[in-house]
Amino acid sequence: MNTELGNASAVVSRWTKVPAVLMVLGGVGAVAGFAMDPRQLGFSYLLAFMFFLSLCMGGMFLVMVHHLFDADWSVPVRRISEHLACLSAVMAVLFVPLALLAPQIYAWMDPAHADHALHAKAGYLNAPFFYARAVIFFAVWIFLSWRLRYWSLKQDESGAAACTFKMRKLAAAGIFLFAITLTLAAIDWMKSLQHQWFSTMYGVYYFSGSVWLTLGTVYLVAVWLKRAGPLRDLVQPRHLKDVGVVLFAFTVFYAYIHFAQYFIIWNANMPEETFWYVMRERGYWWGSSMVLVFGHFLLPFLLLLRIDAKLKLPLMVPLCVWVWLMHFVDISFNVLPPLHLEEFPWRWTDLACFAFIGGVTGFVFLRSLARHPVYPLKDPRLRESLSDHEVPPPAIAEAVHSHEGEE
């Protein structure tokens, strides 16, 4: 067994200082921001939290879908998604400040807030249930992501098919739990900022953006680890191309979902729904709406349209960074309008919180990369993933041998 193969610790350790510095600087900034304006900090923190939660959710989705489809192409990059999914634990810790700041952020938590619309849903939107749900969400996510990685790491040692079956079962049950928890989390933490508003699409909306962001991230990490060495032989152009293709698909999917939501509300023109978008068509928000239309959809769509584009690194690497920026705008578009309706929406605390949560999650992610083999060493589908054609089952291989023997 080649010990060097798939070991990223040397490569990764060079970079661990970056998130650590970000974490410290961002943390100091966040504390300062809290002292100055706790409400502003609450929104900034929520923005950054929902952004990085996207990575965790997207990673979990990619892992589960990989198992459910019995896919082979994504084997070399699956470990990256597994680590992203396992950020669930650190996200749970990072939720604590958010839980404390919640009364500053969510208007409905204020007992003085009298609203008929709230009264109707008080059975769901009340502080104790809100916290209880958060506990359940994190319990589900931590359980799923850590069990999935646990069996995957087990398989690195044994290569047993039993591990694959375990993961498949987890993924099967998990995808249901995932769909429900992600939807409710998006409703609780983002939609309830304006609790009068409702949309059945909202969970799918957050989901589509999250997976989009995660695919861009997986692409970047895969390119980095390929260039730096640990994934050199493993991530072949066609794997990168496939990630790019799925990124393209989710570019369209996100646009489809968001357009459908907007279109239905626009057409029905009912004030109880339109107010949410009307707020977002004013002042700076008009600009950021347009950024979403052209930057979140049209630009990546046109750039990714050509088949060969998905392999052009000078195009793809900046594009994946752009994906981060666009997702940040998208989450801001959802989170910030209740706070800053007319004036410029972003403050320095947004950057501080982003640096802090990004630093913490980045640090944990890099440490996971360094600690574990950087791809599933003995996954039964790995061989298929790395070969050009479908691997013939032994029965066929035998038939060939006997046939060749006859000749």
Partner: protein, 666 residues
Amino acid sequence: MAEHAPKSTAFANAPEPPPELERKPLVQNLRSFAWISDRIAAVAEGRTPKWWWAAFVPSVALMIMCFVMIGYLISTGVGVWGVAHPVSWGYAIINFVFWIGIGHAGTLISAILFLLRQRWRTAVNRAAEAMTIFAVMCAGIFPLIHVGRAWMAWWLFPIPNSNNIWPQFRSPLMWDVFAVSTYFTVSLLFWYMGLMPDLATMRDRAKTKIRKYLYGLFALGWTGSNRNWSNYEKAYLVLAGLSTPLVLSVHSIVSLDFSVSQLPGWHTTIFPPYFVAGAIFSGFGMVLTLLIPVRKLCGLEEVITVRHIELMGKVILATGSMVGYAYAMEFFIAYYGGNPYEMFTFKNRAFGPYGWAYWIMVTCNVISPQLFWFKKIRTNLVAVFILSICVNIGMWFERFVIVVTSLHRDFLPANWGYYSPTYVDVLTFVGTFGLFLTLFLLFLRFVPLIAIAEVKSVIPQGDPDHPLGSVKEMLPATPEMKPAAKEPAKAAKPLGLLAEFETSAEIKSAAKKVRNAGYRRWDVFTPFPIHGMDDAMGLRDSRVGWFSFIGGVTGYCSGMLMIWFMNSFDYPLVVGGKPLFSPVYAFPVSFELTILLGAFGAVAGMLITNRLPRWHNPLFKSERFARVTHDRFFILIECRDPKFSETKTRELLEAAGSRRVEMAEE
């Protein structure tokens, strides 16, 4: 020899998959190319089997009943239906949505699964695509007769008429017109393009003149030239790329008929993806209902294997669960939204007078598909067949629930009612099954029901890099033909040397040799597109994509311009307080036109770059060349090539492994 050497240490260290995780072959028993075309083509050849007549006669009877009912309706008026205040959308809209939904599996299998590289689709895509086309035809009937005066339906199209007004594009009805007609046209094009190589196979197998003529006519002179395959595959990819958003858009737009309204139970933002998931779900239900008997009756169990059935069961499970998610979300948001009317509608759906329909829907669409979690169920054909019928029933009731329950309790109790269909409603609906089955049975008898060329490309022998790609005649299927006669010195002008090869690996390595020898005017002919052949021949990337891109851009711009001109410039009319022109409401129609013209561009580009149709190709004179659509591979080096020399070229081809080289004539 095949090049399948391990690439890296990572590959070397990767373990062989354990036996329980082996992938099952797509075609069982290592069948040969010849076996595949013989077996599949046999369904459309030879004597008509008895079961076919037994199915065809009742189907035609039902179809006639459908037309009688429609005749009665049109001659008498919509009063013969059960629709009345407050339920003014009854069976007609339910059936329309139901059939459109059925039509979604075909394009999903042919387009989305193609993009996802799900190679198992090859065994089922043709039949599913045919089903799509027939289902859309059934669907199209209903809005047409629902408008009441069917002879005025042409007003729906943007054609100047005697009233001097234009269709108004803020209405979802107009979006439907464009979505459904685009969907039908593009599905038909996609289906026909997929058929071309197989029609050529049928042409080359035809025993009678009339068959040869007709199949030849529709095959457009297809020869299996690799220069053609290259453009063809690009066009296929582009069409798949266009059909994927198209298939999503069609049912999304159908869902907008409901969701852009303000009616509780209809107006909800999740409708578009929810309808799409439901459509795919119902489409796969119908594919299974049809293919489980067909594979047995036609003796195709080795091509449409249990693995295929199992995979389709999984798609049903996935989409059924998505539909379940949407049901749950609707209920939850009805509560969360705090709108009492919305909440009432949903409570009434589940526990009101139509509660029975609601629970049939939930049982058939969400609960019973969960049985597909179990491999035992997925591989038990009887169980799958029964469950697939449950899916069909459940999805019909879903539309019933959406249409009827939302309407039958209006805001004022004075406007409440109970909808019951009349016999005309029921018999028309049942009759459309007759139409559907009649068309499907005719399809079975006249065109190959499985994509022959595509199946050949996914068996191991079809992959030149696979160990089996270089194995000759795994199972002797067709008797050896007599060797080519020594070509007599005729007066005819020679065209070039035509060399025959037997395996995909041979032809690929031969193509490389010919290319390296510096020939220019030559081509490779194969029964199916061979992986890596374009590189081996040194072909540049096909330009079909550009035709499609230009078509798409033209479609989008002309859609926007048309709507602006009609609704905002030429005849400005305020509707529903909406702006005279907005790119928002103009988007669905412009999008459909993008896809339509993009697809026209792709197909036209494929034909232009391939210089097709070309019904008289000198190669058709060669007796042996007829096997190019069956199980043989050819290289033609033309005399016009500057490097051509009869002896040297012949030597080269023989050295490349050909056992038969003949001089083809002009």
